[in-house]
């Protein structure tokens, strides 16, 4: 490798005294003296390598996995405290090493508010998944160690995805993370797991390879040079409209598959229903966010014209995802498939918010990504805990469980309420912000998307009713309620719902600058209210 080339430190001086007006231009990456982001990613990577190397006799595998994932969490929290929401640099905690200068590729890391939020969310969910997957490989041995190793490897890759500021590097992580997921789905799970893993891989790979063509296109049309792949260098280029649209489609398709949006979603229900709950959690809770993350980071920022051009189609697809996903969810008997379809519906909201091109909707979408990570994680884990007790994921095999396992039922209900976006839960805040922002531009779209909240109530409550209510089930009186480990799995998630529901301001403060900078790059102006309130009463409560 070539010697380290540290970025210069552009424009960070005004951070503390930044004016209250929206940031004019956020650009550049402020370097970090300490490679925080690399460290966050390196911890699970090391853990993964260690677990791969561990002999099968070693029983400490999962404890090690938990330890490494918790360590990554701690480090990510420390890094988050180093993040300055007031900075004018688009990316912070920057790191830069030359990697493939021939292609203008550098190992460039950096996060904006969205990035750090996603990283922290990921490092929270992974230990939860490790705990949740504690007994997933009952026979133990090497196979179990490898299971957790894949999890940690996936975590490392995902952190790489969220932290890359180099398009090539992003792509590398984006595609490479398919491998751990492929093995997680294909090796551990239900009887149809091979088919599910293959489908996941092929659909993702197809999208990813089309994106590769677009990445190449961006590179060829970009400025070139040893850092020609940096997002910031690729921002604000003027493309031929047709070319820009093609490039946009190339990126968008891959992200839409990953997200997943209707009609390229079919891999998800299959994968989620076959994988272990912990894997499904990682899959839907974190991995799929990469799709929407990519839309914001790359589609909107690099191809603003094309993004606006595609908006009508994307919005319609998002609305179809919302309604379609929710409607299909209502009809599911398989809990895991049901959750998968709810996620498709929720991803519809996220995409809707992204392409509404308003600050409120954009911030809502980013927050939604965080919230959905927690809520869907909780949902999958609940389903897993039920399935572990009953040995079935079919809803029709249940009934009356509230009488037997009240705490489980309570957690399940809270999780369900978070999924149906009850106010007070984080998911409400984000969903409402998305709709609020969307309404500013597309009232009809907001109205249609609102149908999703009715359908959400139906699928969640019917589910709860069929599983939990009714007369005490026969022969299951001795089913244990939540164990201590399971409570520790659920507690942080439920706490996250509530905290983000009532006090999302700290997270929003972190997200806001990245949203406004993205919108700035996208070249849109905020819609104004038609009949604004007289001065003094603007902007909610006066300050």
């Amino acid at each position: 490798m070539s010697p380290i080339v540290l970025m210069s430190t552009p424009m960070t001086s005004v951070s503390a005294l930044a004016p209250a007006s929206p940031v004019v231009t956020a650009a550049g990456t402020s370097a970090s003296a300490f490679p925080w982001l690399t460290l966050i990613g390196a911890i699970p990577l090391l853990g993964a390598l260690l677990l791969f190397a561990l002999p099968g006799r070693a029983q400490v595998g999962r404890a090690l996995a938990l330890g490494f994932s918790l360590l990554a969490f701690v480090v990510s929290v420390v890094a988050a405290t180093r993040f300055d929401p007031g900075s004018t640099a688009q990316f912070q905690l920057g790191e830069r090493l030359e990697w493939i200068p021939q292609f203008g590729v550098s190992y460039s890391l950096g996060v904006d508010g969205m990035g750090i939020a996603m990283i922290v969310m990921s490092t929270i969910i992974v230990p939860v998944c490790v705990l949740a997957g504690w007994h997933d490989v009952p026979e133990g041995g090497r196979r179990r160690n490898v299971y957790f190793a894949w999890m940690l490897l996936l975590e490392a890759m995902i952190i790489g995805v969220f932290a890359s500021t180099d398009v090539f590097l992003f792509y590398v992580f984006f595609e490479a993370m398919l491998v751990p997921v492929y093995f997680l789905i294909g090796s551990y799970g239900g009887p149809q797991r091979h088919a599910a893993a293959t489908k996941f891989l092929l659909v993702s790979l197809a999208g990813g390879l089309v994106m590769l063509a677009a990445v190449i296109g961006v590179y060829v049309l970009g400025p070139g040079g040893p850092d020609g792949f940096l997002v910031e260098r690729l921002t604000g280029l003027s493309f031929d409209p047709l070319v820009e649209r093609l490039l946009f489609v190339g990126f968008f398709l891959a992200f839409a598959i990953k997200a997943p949006m209707w009609p390229v979603h079919t891999w998800l229900p299959q994968a989620a229903s076959q994988a272990t709950p912990a894997t499904s959690t990682l899959l839907v809770g974190i991995l799929d966010k990469v799709g929407t993350f990519g839309m914001i980071r790359f589609c909107l920022q690099m191809f603003p014209e094309a993004s606006r051009w595609a908006t009508p189609v994307v919005i319609v697809l998002a609305l179809v995802s919302i309604v379609f996903g929710a409607a299909v969810a209502i009809g599911q008997d398989d809990m895991l498939r049901l959750i998968a379809y709810t996620s498709i519906s929720h991803f519809g909201f996220i995409v809707l918010g992204i392409f509404a091109f308003t600050h409120v909707a954009g911030a809502g979408s980013v927050l939604y990504m965080v919230n959905h990570g927690f809520s869907t994680a909780a949902m999958f884990l609940m389903a897993g805990m039920l399935a572990q007790r009953r040995g079935s994921v079919r809803i029709s095999d249940y009934g009356g469980w509230q009488r037997v396992t009240p705490v489980l039922a309570g957690c399940f209900l809270v999780t369900g309420l978070a999924t149906l976006s009850l106010p007070g839960m984080g998911s409400f805040v984000s969903e409402f912000l998305v709709m609020l922002g969307t309404f500013q531009r597309y009232p009809w779209a907001a109205a249609v998307s609102s149908l999703g909240i009715i359908l959400a109530a139906i699928y969640i409550l019917l589910w709860y009713q069929r599983v939990m209510t009714g007369p005490k089930p026969e022969g299951l009186e001795r089913v244990p309620d939540l164990t201590g480990r399971e409570k520790w799995v659920m507690a942080p998630l439920i706490a996250a719902f509530l905290v983000l529901g009532f006090y999302p301001a700290p997270v929003l403060d972190v997200i806001n600058p990245s949203v406004s900078s993205t919108l700035q790059h996208a070249g849109v102006t905020e819609p104004r209210p038609t009949n604004p309130a007289p001065a003094g009463a603007m902007n909610g409560s006066a300050k």
């Binding site: 490798m1 070539s2 030359e98 990697w99 493939i100 200068p101 021939q102 292609f103 090497r142 090539f168 792509y171 590398v172 992580f173 984006f174 595609e175 490479a176 398919l178 491998v179 492929y182 093995f183 294909g186 090796s187 797991r193 091979h194 893993a197 293959t198 891989l201 092929l202 790979l205 197809a206 390879l209 089309v210 590769l212 063509a213 990445v215 190449i216 296109g217 590179y219 060829v220």
Partner: protein
């Protein structure tokens, strides 16, 4: 920008009567080693033959490579009256051929504790199952494969360094003929092996005839066989356009046959399947490297000026090669055949890079060949190790559950397959990126179209590779028991090098890319 301008001015001092021995020293070493091999075969006692042959061949290869590695800048020059041109690309390709040849040789020398090379019949001329075969079996070794391989390598080294069409033809034949013989020498399933040799030989000669005819037409057009002269003639000679275009395309037929491009690929699956597995690996890697080296020289030095005449045809060939290779690999059930079709698809990807007609394309092709070549040798090396009742378990159903039985080997194969599929952080990804980027950047709309076809074909091939991964890791072992042999140090090294390059060229591709880029200047 004119392609000629890119290639740059001739810089060597041209001395007709002199021979720059340094420039051709590596080839001389290999030729010498091959000849010594013949002598060893004739005079050395049977017991010492294997060791002696292997040592001579391996030392020859390593010495030749050491010369290139240490004296490369001084070696550059046109020599032998322009018949041999040793320039950057030639040296890089020779280096690759030597290293891959060494890896291939190590696999050919694999004995698995027996007396002679395990893959080869002790008596190629005997009837399968006959008394003579049994006798030869008892007597031991088949060591003639080593000098044969060395002769093939000599041809492969000369091929990309050929300064004129005659040298190129001779090199083509020198590399082909030992391979025909090697193909016929499998120890097990000898009928298949002989059939493969026959097919390879007939079709190979057939294509050589086309190559030669193309050379004749170009000679008729330019009045010279020298590629540089032909290149210069393209701009100046008028009125014989038909000769030029037809000649160029017939030359391509000969070379495209060697790389296995559609529609000249049909020998590939049969020969790859029938040949002894180490030979298949050797062929897949070294022949491809040498043939692409020659193709590059032909295109960039001789024919770049007339690209409008043949470009369209090659675009179509490249597209067809990617599509047919990847689609056909989907329905394969024999692992060697499957890898054969995959090599066809890879030839298509490399062609895309070649058609950039730019130095970036040369570097990309070089990089692709390096990453593909080592990986494919390692892949065939792994195939060599998986046995059912003594012979190689090549039906993919026999690979089911291999991940349980031999996790390290299966993991290695999985890594190689991911490399073939072009998963990032493996060499295959960087290589694909390089060729596609070169094509998009320099081949205009055709480059974009080919790239899109290429990425879609990649998706199809990925299905194929991951199907094997599924079998190895996610399926329960099938009926007949499958054993995994332990390779010797040499074989393990060959496989290890393939694995290592897959990872290293994926994670740190910059040095090789830099080398390939700095060595992308043709001389004539």
């Amino acid at each position: 920008m004119s392609p000629l301008a890119l290639i740059g001015p001739p810089s060597a001092t041209f001395t007709p009567s002199e021979v720059s021995y340094l420039s051709i020293l590596p080839m001389l070493i290999v030729a010498g080693a091959a000849l010594i091999g013949v002598l060893v075969e004739a005079f050395a006692p049977r017991a010492a033959r294997f060791t002696a042959q292997f040592a001579v061949a391996m030392l020859g290869l390593l010495a030749a490579f050491a010369v290139i590695a240490m004296r490369a800048p001084a070696m550059i020059g046109v020599t032998l009256s322009g018949a041999v041109v040793v320039d950057g690309p030639a040296l890089v390709f020779q280096g690759m051929v030597l290293l891959m040849g060494a890896a291939g040789l190590a696999l050919m020398a694999e004995r698995f504790g027996g007396r002679g090379p395990d893959a080869f019949t002790p008596s190629g001329s005997s009837v399968p199952g006959s008394q003579a075969e049994g006798l030869a079996e008892r007597l031991g070794t088949t060591t003639e494969v080593f000098p044969l391989t060395m002769f093939a390598l000599l041809g492969m080294m000369l091929f990309p360094a050929s300064g004129d069409l005659l040298t190129m033809f001779v090199a083509l034949e020198v590399l082909s003929m030992p391979l025909y013989v090697l193909t016929a020498l499998a120890r097990r399933r000898r009928l298949l092996s002989q059939e493969a040799a026959l097919k390879y030989f007939l079709l190979g000669s057939f294509s050589s005839a086309f190559f030669l005819f193309g050379a004749a037409l170009l000679y008729g057009y330019a009045g010279s066989l020298n590629l540089g002269e032909i290149g210069r003639a393209v701009g100046t000679v008028s009125g014989r356009g038909g000769l030029l275009a037809a000649g160029a395309l017939l030359l391509f037929v000969g070379l495209l046959f060697k790389v296995g491009a559609v529609p000249f690929h049909s020998w590939t699956p049969d020969v790859y399947q029938g040949a002894p597995t180490p030979v298949t690996g050797f062929m897949a890697a070294c022949t491809k490297v040498a043939a692409f080296g020659a193709l590059l020289r032909l295109v960039y030095v001789g024919l770049a000026g007339s690209r409008w005449d043949w470009e369209l045809v090659l675009w179509i060939v490249a597209g067809l090669t990617m599509v047919v290779g990847s689609v056909l690999s989907v329905s394969q059930t024999d692992i060697k055949r499957l890898l054969a079709y995959s090599s066809v698809a890879h030839a298509g990807f490399i062609l895309v890079g070649l058609l950039a007609i730019d130095r970036a394309g040369i570097a990309a092709v070089t990089f692709y060949l390096a990453s593909y070549g080592f990986a494919t040798i390692a892949a065939f090396g792994i195939v060599l190790l998986v046995r059912a009742r003594g012979s190689e378990a090549t039906h993919i159903s026999q690979w089911a559950g291999l991940g349980r039985r031999a996790p390290v080997l299966a993991a290695g194969m999985g890594l190689l397959l991911m490399g073939f599929a072009g998963i990032p952080l493996t060499s295959g990804f960087t290589a694909k990126f390089a060729v596609f980027a070169a094509a998009v950047a320099h081949a205009g709309a055709a480059g974009v179209v080919l790239t899109v076809i290429g990425v879609l074909s990649s998706a199809v091939t990925a299905y194929v590779y991951f199907r094997i991964v599924v079998l190895m890791f996610f399926s329960e072992p099938g009926g007949a028991p499958v054993d995994v042999l332990r390779p010797s140090a040499g074989g393990a090294t060959a496989i290890g090098v393939g694995l290592l390059t897959t990872v290293v060229l994926g994670v740190f591709p910059a040095p090789l890319l830099a080398l390939a880029a700095s060595a992308s200047q043709f001389l004539w």
